[in-house]
Symmetry: C2
C-alpha cells in the first residue's frame, strides 16, 4: 500500500463549490484510502458539508480563508490581489511541501497564472503545458498543450513529449506510451516548420520514448497513440472543437429522444446499450487537466463539473503524486540537453 499522501484542495473554486468539492472528496476517499485532504476555504460552509461526508471528514484538515478567486477574475489582477485566496493557498501548500498536489475547479487563467508565479518553472522546461485526457475508442489518450501558452517551437514540442509520456505513465497507467506530433495530412504541405523540426529532434534524441511520427486530428479517436503533442493554440482549438461537436450531437440526440412517445419508449429501450457509450463520452471521466513543467503538481478541474468529475480530478492529482513523474521528466530533459542545438545542415529523417 502506498504511503499516505496529502492533496491540497481549493474548496471554493468552481460553479458549484464548495458542495461538489466536499462530495468529490467523499467519493474519492472511499476508493483511495491513502489520501488525506487539506482544504482551503470557508470553514463554516465546509464543516457543515463535511457532516454528510463520513469517509472523508476524518481525513480533512480545513484551512480557513474568507477570500476566493471569482470565476471571471482577470489573471493579472489575481497575481496582484490573489494572495490569501483559497486558490492561492491551495497552490502554496504544494510549494511548502505540505501537499503532493493541488486541485482547483476555479478560473483557469487565474490558476495558471498563480501556479506559474508560486511554483515557478522546472529548470530545463521552457514552457509549461496543460495536459488533458481525451476519450478514444480504446480508452483515453493524453493531449498537450491544451492552452497553457499559444505557441511552441521544436524544442518545446520535444519537452511536451517528455512530460506527456511521463503523464500517460503516471495517470493513465500506460507503460510505454506511443507519442506523436499533431499535424495535418497533405503530404507536401506537412505542417509548420516547428513540427517537422520537432519530429526530427524526437527521432535523433535517443530518448526512451516510443515516437510514432505524426498523427492527424481525426485519428486521435482510434486510440493507437497515447500522447498527442501540439502547441497550445492548436491544442485548445482541437479540444474546444471536439467539445463543441460532442455537445451539439448530444443535444440533438436528446431532442430526438424526447420528440414523441414512440421515440421516448425507444430511447428507454436503447438506454442500457448506450451506457457504455455514455460512460466513454462522459466529460467527467476525463476531468482533470494538469499544468506540467512547474515545481509542483496543479490539477485544473472543469468549473462546471459535479462530485463525480471533481473526484476524477483528485484521482489525477493522486496519480501524479504517487508517480515518479518528476524524476522521469528530469532524466529525460538531461538526456535531451546535448541534442538540442542542432546543425542546420542535418536532414529530416522521415
Amino acid at each position: 500500500m502506498a504511503d499516505r499522501k496529502i492533496i491540497s484542495i481549493d474548496g471554493m473554486g468552481g460553479d458549484n463549490a464548495p458542495r461538489i468539492v466536499v462530495e468529490g472528496m467523499e467519493r474519492i476517499a472511499q476508493s483511495h484510502p491513502h489520501l488525506d485532504f487539506l482544504v482551503h476555504g470557508d470553514e463554516a460552509q465546509l464543516k457543515a458539508l463535511l457532516t454528510r461526508a463520513p469517509t472523508a471528514a476524518p481525513r480533512v484538515t480545513i484551512r480557513h480563508t474568507d477570500k476566493s478567486v471569482a470565476m471571471d477574475a482577470k489573471p493579472s489582477q489575481m497575481l496582484r490581489q490573489g494572495k490569501g485566496t483559497s486558490m492561492w493557498n491551495a497552490i502554496e501548500a504544494v510549494k511548502s511541501g505540505e501537499a503532493v498536489a493541488a486541485v482547483s475547479a476555479g478560473n483557469t487563467g487565474a490558476l495558471m497564472a498563480l501556479s506559474m508565479f508560486i511554483l515557478r518553472k522546472v529548470e530545463g522546461v521552457h514552457r509549461p503545458a496543460l495536459v488533458g485526457s481525451w476519450p478514444t475508442r480504446k480508452g483515453v489518450c493524453a493531449v498537450l498543450d491544451l492552452g497553457a501558452d499559444i505557441a511552441a517551437d521544436a524544442e518545446q514540442l520535444v519537452e511536451f513529449a517528455i512530460m506527456g509520456a511521463a503523464f500517460a505513465r503516471a495517470v493513465h497507467g500506460v507503460q510505454n506510451p506511443r507519442v506523436a506530433l499533431l499535424n495535418i495530412g497533405e503530404e507536401e504541405l506537412k505542417g509548420h516548420e516547428s513540427i517537422r523540426e520537432g519530429a526530427r529532434l524526437m527521432r535523433e534524441s535517443g530518448l526512451p520514448i516510443d515516437f510514432r511520427g505524426y498523427i492527424e486530428p481525426d485519428k486521435i479517436g482510434y486510440g493507437d497513440i497515447d500522447v498527442v503533442v501540439t502547441d497550445g493554440f492548436t491544442g485548445n482549438v482541437a479540444l474546444k472543437t471536439a467539445e463543441g461537436i460532442a455537445r451539439m450531437i448530444s443535444d440533438m440526440l436528446k431532442d430526438a429522444f424526447k420528440s414523441g412517445p414512440l421515440s421516448m419508449l425507444g430511447a428507454l429501450m436503447v438506454m442500457p446499450a448506450l451506457k457504455n457509450f455514455r460512460a466513454k463520452m462522459d466529460p467527467r471521466k476525463t476531468n482533470g487537466a494538469v499544468f506540467l513543467g512547474l515545481n509542483g503538481i496543479v490539477v485544473k478541474s472543469h468549473g462546471g463539473t459535479d462530485d463525480v468529475g471533481f473526484a476524477q480530478a483528485i484521482s489525477v492529482a493522486a496519480g501524479m503524486g504517487d508517480s515518479s513523474f518528476r524524476t522521469e521528466v528530469e532524466e529525460n530533459l538531461r538526456r535531451l540537453a546535448p541534442v538540442a542545438p542542432v546543425g542546420p545542415a542535418e536532414q529530416v529523417a522521415h
Copy 2:
C-alpha cells in the same frame, strides 16, 4: 430562370468514380434544369453509365481521356505529368471559359496544385483558401481556410473574410453574413498576433461586412456566426477533429443500437426522430469545398462520397457559378487596398 450554365466534371476522380459521378449528375439534373455537364474521362464507361441517367444524359458532353489522377498521386508529380488527365482537363475547361466551374472528387493535393497552376491566383489575393460548410444547430456556416495553405497573416485573414462572406452569400444564401475570426478564449492569452491584428484590420477597413470579432471553436455549432475565418493549419485541425469526433460518436451509437434485440427494437422506434438529426450531421449534405482566390471556380468533393454527396458538390459549383462572387470579392479587395499598410501607433479598437 437562370441562363444555362455548364459545369465541368472530373469523371474519374473519387473512390467510386465514375459511377457516383454519373449518378450525382442525374440527381442534380432533376433539381437544376439550367445545368449542362462537360464530363472528362473514359468515354465507354461514362456512356454505359449514362444509359441509366435519363435526365442528365441529353445534357452531358463527354470529353474522352484515358488518363486520370491516382488517389495517392503526389501533387508535385501531377504538376509535371498531370496534363491530359480528367482532372487537368476539367480545370482547363474553366480556364478556357467553356464551363463556369469544375468539380472533382479526386486527390485533394493534386486538385489544389493543378487548380493553382492552371487558373492562377486572382490579383490582390495573397493566398487561396479552401472553404467548406460546417453543420450548426441552426443550419450551416462557412469555415476557411481548411488547408489550402498552412499559415495566414493578418491581411490574408481579411482576404479570407472577404471571400468567405461572398461564398456564404453565393452558396448558403445568407444576405448579410456574420463573420468572425477563430480564436481561443483565455482573455489575456488571446491568440496569435496575426489574429489580433486581423481583427483590428477588419474593424478599421470599412468593409461592408458584419464583423463580430472572435469566435471560440466550441461556439461554431451554435450557428450565430456565418463565416469562421482562420489559417489553413488551424482550420484543417478543427475540421479533422470535428470529423473524427463525429465519426467516433456515430460508430459507438451504431454499435450500441446493434448490441441486442431490445436495443435494436428501441433503435427502430427512435429512428424516425433521428431523421432530422442524421440529415443535419450527414457529411454528404455539407459536401463540396471550394478553392477561393483563383481565376475560376473549382469544387472539391470528398473522395469517398456517393451520388447524393457528389450532387451536393455540383450544387455548390452551380451556386458559385450563378453568383456575383467574383465581382463582390474584387470590389471588397479594392476597398481594402488603401487600408492595408497601417501605422504602428494605431490602437486595437476592442
